[in-house]
């Protein structure tokens, strides 16, 4: 059956509104089961509809469904849908992952009170996110953009009783708000330039290369960078880990943070070269920076948070390089494996809840170790996801990551030598990525349990299946039949014409993969076999071999130290420069506020007081004459006459 636009509009509306309805219902439900059920069912409906829409529109003509929302003066704001391949992928991704994460959450948050809030907020998030991706104009996009931020705020603050969560969600929202306003200003500038908010018209405009458009571009990317936690806005994301892990998985790894990339992809046609270059630089820098931060983390979720930032950096870079398709492709693959990583980490944390009772941090990797056998399901899905993140062949991560890297090298090739900094940075990032994720893997799963008598339980039913499903999506087969060529994947094909990698198509995978085994060995030596080294102190020779020629120590003292120092430096920069800047801005704001407050009290009210005092002063002056001496009264009166006369006489009154 051929679906008309009208039908599709209904489908889209159904997809968007079903979570909204669920939110409205769930918000006022006390029942745990019912609220979960409603929320999940509506997500499922959305997912089903998304599939339906996807199948209708994939690789077909772009469909735009318009209806006017507000029309005032020259401004007309639509509430309409823009359905193209990008949208349909995003839709699918969002609804699918949300659905899975929701199922996961049933068990994950089984012991939380007021759980209906959670379901409502997740539904709200889904609604907002879907609205964001189907929006046919920038203002509508902006509306949902903010709503997404709002739901993220609510979800980060789910455990609002925790002081840290309260601070974290505020931080997240405010940093996002900065970006939002930049975006809004950018949208307005765009409106002034082209008198429209519509996305479809955007594509027809000439990118041009003037200062106005560059400024506009900078404002526009500001919003995206904040949402995608890119330098210099990245600090909120690690803090956002204060929310439940399922939220981190869904919002702060798979979907919402990717919205920034989505926006960049959407807007990339109108970016001037300068803006694109800025994007590439910021993306690359963020990628390597975040990756190096991840190395130094001990909190299990923070490692992943930095990892997310780093991966998003790669995507942003890809957009900056003009390769939106690879960015979007990486976005999709990353969504699955990063979500899976989070979910498995969540399962670990959930399994280690008993640590909490002992006053230990259940998220600290130093308290873990040797979990491989205790929680096999989690172990396996984690392994798959991590492998995908590292980008080993046969996994989806390989395809997308290599696509970006190859694009980067191709891009640099056509430019100057200096431009190679960016692809090389990206390459180093992939190494670091491998390093930190192996490190985490080693710390958590390998070795021996730090707290052997601790009870750990594996993923339960509701947690298990979503992870397993996600794990499937980490394999190449879902994206294309050629495990080595990203260009053959359907997503890439569906998005844009892609250029062939040429020589880089061989070089880059080799370069990026060559270190992985070595890194694995190093990590294992450093983090797993450390105890072994310590125990066998008696034989230096033995030790030399046992330690593989003291490579461990060598790494420990050079490599690791260096990395540790570097990461510490980076962390310091983060902490003492960016945060200080943020803090400074905040304190400067407070300072300004104090000044204004003072102004208000002293100057403005002071002026009022001054006036009042003058008034009283005049009154006092008038009063002086009234001294009670009647003769003085007469004297003043006569003086008055004399003065009046003199005035009249000399000045003609």
């Amino acid at each position: 059956m051929e679906l008309t636009n009208l039908h599709i509009a209904w489908l889209v509306k159904g997809m968007i509104y079903s979570p909204l309805i669920s939110m409205a219902l769930v918000l006022f439900l006390k029942s745990r089961r019912l609220s979960a059920a409603i929320s999940i069912v509506t997500s499922a409906i959305s997912f089903a509809l998304a599939i339906c829409i996807f199948s209708t529109i994939w690789n077909k003509e772009i469909i735009e469904i318009r209806s006017v929302w507000i029309a005032i003066g020259s401004v007309s704001i639509d509430f309409g849908f823009w359905l193209d391949n990008t949208t349909s992928i995003m839709m699918l991704l969002i609804t699918g992952i949300t659905f899975l994460v929701q199922i996961y959450s049933v068990d994950y948050l089984a012991n939380e009170g007021q759980i209906n809030r959670y379901w409502a907020h997740i539904s709200l998030f889904l609604f907002a996110m879907l609205g964001l991706v189907v929006a046919n104009n920038l203002l509508m996009l902006y509306v949902f953009w903010e709503l997404v931020g709002f739901s993220s705020y609510l979800l980060i603050g789910f455990w609002y009783k925790r002081e840290k969560a309260a601070i974290a969600n505020k931080k997240a929202f405010i940093i996002n708000r900065i970006g939002d306003l930049m975006l809004l200003i950018g949208i307005f500038m765009l409106f002034i330039q082209w008198k429209t908010f519509d996305l479809n018209q955007l594509l027809t405009f000439d990118a041009g290369n003037n200062a106005w458009q560059t400024t506009m571009g900078i404002f526009l990317i500001g919003g995206a960078l904040a949402k995608s936690a890119q330098f210099p806005f990245h600090t909120w994301l690690p803090s956002a880990m204060e929310g439940p892990t399922s939220v981190s998985a869904l919002i702060h790894a798979a979907t919402m943070v990717a919205a920034g990339v989505y926006l960049l992809v959407r807007l990339s046609p109108i970016f001037t070269p300068v803006v694109l270059l800025i994007l590439a630089i910021i993306g690359a820098f963020t990628a390597i920076m975040a990756a190096s931060f991840a190395l130094a983390q001990m909190d299990i979720k923070r490692v992943l948070a930095y990892s997310t930032i780093s991966q998003l950096g790669l995507m942003v870079m890809a957009v900056g390089l003009g390769s939106s398709a690879s960015a979007l492709f990486h976005l999709s693959t990353h969504a699955f494996f990063k979500c899976l990583l989070f979910l498995s980490v969540g399962a670990i944390i959930h399994g280690l809840y008993s640590l909490k009772d002992k006053g230990l941090d259940e998220q600290d990797m130093r308290n873990m170790g040797g979990l491989k056998l205790k929680i096999p399901i989690v172990f396996w899905v984690y392994l798959i996801a991590a492998t995908s993140l590292i980008g080993l062949p046969l996994f989806s991560g390989f395809l997308s990551k290599e696509a970006i890297l190859i694009e980067a090298f191709l891009w640099a090739e056509s430019r100057t030598v200096w431009h190679f900094i960016i692809p090389i940075t990206a390459l180093i990032t992939t190494w670091l990525t491998a390093f930190y994720i192996i490190r985490q893997f080693a710390l958590v799963f390998l070795g021996e349990a730090k707290h052997p008598n601790n009870t750990v339980h594996d993923a339960s039913k509701y947690m298990k299946w979503p992870m397993i499903i996600l794990a499937f999506f980490c394999f190449f087969i879902f994206f294309g039949f050629n495990p080595f060529n990203a260009n053959s994947t359907w997503i890439m094909n569906g998005l844009l014409t892609v250029q062939e990698g040429g020589i880089w198509a061989i070089w880059v995978p080799v370069a990026s993969l060559i270190l992985v085994p070595i890194l694995f060995i190093i990590c294992k030596a450093m983090y797993v076999n450390k105890s072994f080294v310590l125990i066998s102190v008696d034989s230096r020779f033995y030790q030399f071999f046992a330690n593989a020629g003291y490579f461990d120590e060598l790494y420990e003292h050079t490599f690791a130290k260096l990395i540790s120092i570097l990461s510490k430096i980076s962390a310091t920069i983060d902490k003492h420069i960016i945060d200080v800047l943020v803090d400074f801005t905040a304190s400067f704001g407070l300072f300004l506020a104090k000044i204004f407050d003072w102004l208000d009290r002293k100057i403005i009210d002071g002026t009022v007081y001054f006036v009042v005092a003058r008034v009283r002063g005049i009154g006092d002056f008038a009063r002086k004459f009234q001294d009670g001496f009647v003769q003085h009264y007469i004297g003043w009166a006569v003086t008055g006459i004399a003065l009046l006369y003199i005035f009249n006489h000399f000045f003609g009154l």
């Binding site: 507000i70 203002l139 306003l181 002034i192």
Partner: protein, 546 residues
Amino acid sequence: MLTILLFLPILSLILVLILPNSNNNLFKYINLTTTILQVLIVIGLYFAFDNNLAGFNSIEGFQFVEKVSWIGLQLGSLGSLQIDYFLGVDGISFTLVILTTMVMLIAAISSWNIQLKPKSYFALLLLLNSAIIGVFCALDFFLFYIFYELMLLPLFFLIGIWGGSKREYASIKFFLYTLFGSVFMLIVIIGLYFSVKDPISGAHTFNMLHMMNPDNYLPGSLLSVGSESGILFGAPTRLIAFAVLFLGFAIKVPVVPLHTWLPDAHVEAPTPISIILAGLLLKVGAYGIIRICYGIFPDGAIYFSYWIGLLGVISIIYGAFNALAATDFKRLIAYSSVSHMGFVLLGLASLTVEGINGAIFQLFSHGILASMLFFIVGVIYDRVGDRQVANFRGLMTQMPRYSFFVIIAFFASLGLPGFSAFIAELFVLIGAFTSQTTNGLVPHWMAVAGAFGILIGATYFLWTLQRMFFGQARFLGAETWAKQLIDLNTNEKLVLYPLALLTLLLGIFPNLLFDIGNTTINKMVDSTMQIGAQQLEQLKEIISNR
């Protein structure tokens, strides 16, 4: 119908005065009934209201018009004086009339627990009600002025008798400030009256609509455009008159730096009065600017637009920073009002259809949200008699329902899409942004600065949320407070639900409100730009000829 709307409270007032003091509970029911009836009437009017009529400066566009000669004097050499009882609403004023009845209803419900001298309280409240409706409906300047001044007195007592600890200071400050603004208006009113004549009868008139038509100005009069006589102290009298009127209304809006009465008055006033102050009184100022400053002196509107915009931006940012520094919850909200009203000014200054629509929308939206916010403050103040931010922590655990509304109100106020404030601020900013390119009145940087204000707005609201509502429950008054801080009761929910729904409704379907005013605003912008530019040209010519 407008007369009924106007005099219903007066009738109730008389009823309240007649009834004996003994039955204290009766008065609040009378007041409630009155306000409910008013809301019903307004709902009826809403359906009878024709959105397609463009009012602003032509009588044809006004609806529910009532005109009765009120004071007619043959003043010898002054000519004859014609003052009418002249009511009517157009898109702009009708929006505000709707707001008035709703806010009054809210105030009536939130006055439920008034124990001190209920008779006087409700009598004054009813008087205030009538006066505010009158201000929005009056089309005769004299009538407008009378209602405008009449508002002050009940407020003085309502703040002064039922207010907080510094109520005396606050009430007299409020009174002096606003009177200072309005008495100067009197001179301009007289000047206008001398300059304008009724085109039909030829008598001097206070009819605002006649004042808006440049043809009705007597040639050679002080406020006429095209002659030497319109010069005072070397400047065109019209511009001076605009400035004077603007000053008067700006105090009420309030505009930084004329705002310092507001924090005191709002903080000291009892909750229902704070609601009325923020929800309606501030709107009266803005309405005055629109109807009178812009309507009668379009040349001034154009001439001063830069400065009005600047004042708006200063108010936005300054108010926001002050809210950030506030330690008193209510003071914070009060300053946030200053900030939000700055948007109204910015929108007006832009003189674009979008900007002014946004400004009117902001008036309505802020009316609802400010009511909600002040009510929210009132809830905890009622319970423990304290509202220092630092004295509360983790209220969310203690009062989840309450916090739910707090979050809605806060996020609606900080401009979250889906709520009315977002639409308002959006359109104001669109207007401000497009102004430079379409009519060149407000530069871009002001729009950017206005947007910056939104950011600070987010900061103080979120900070307050974090400090007061999140975290572990911990109060200054410890156990006692914990016992007193019970969650919302039915009465309070009855107030908060409609408000929350309303702001949501308008956020999603802004056309409900835009439709009422749009035609009128279109006309307003057109005529203001056209007539104003023309007049300004003439004025410049005269000045340069001197």
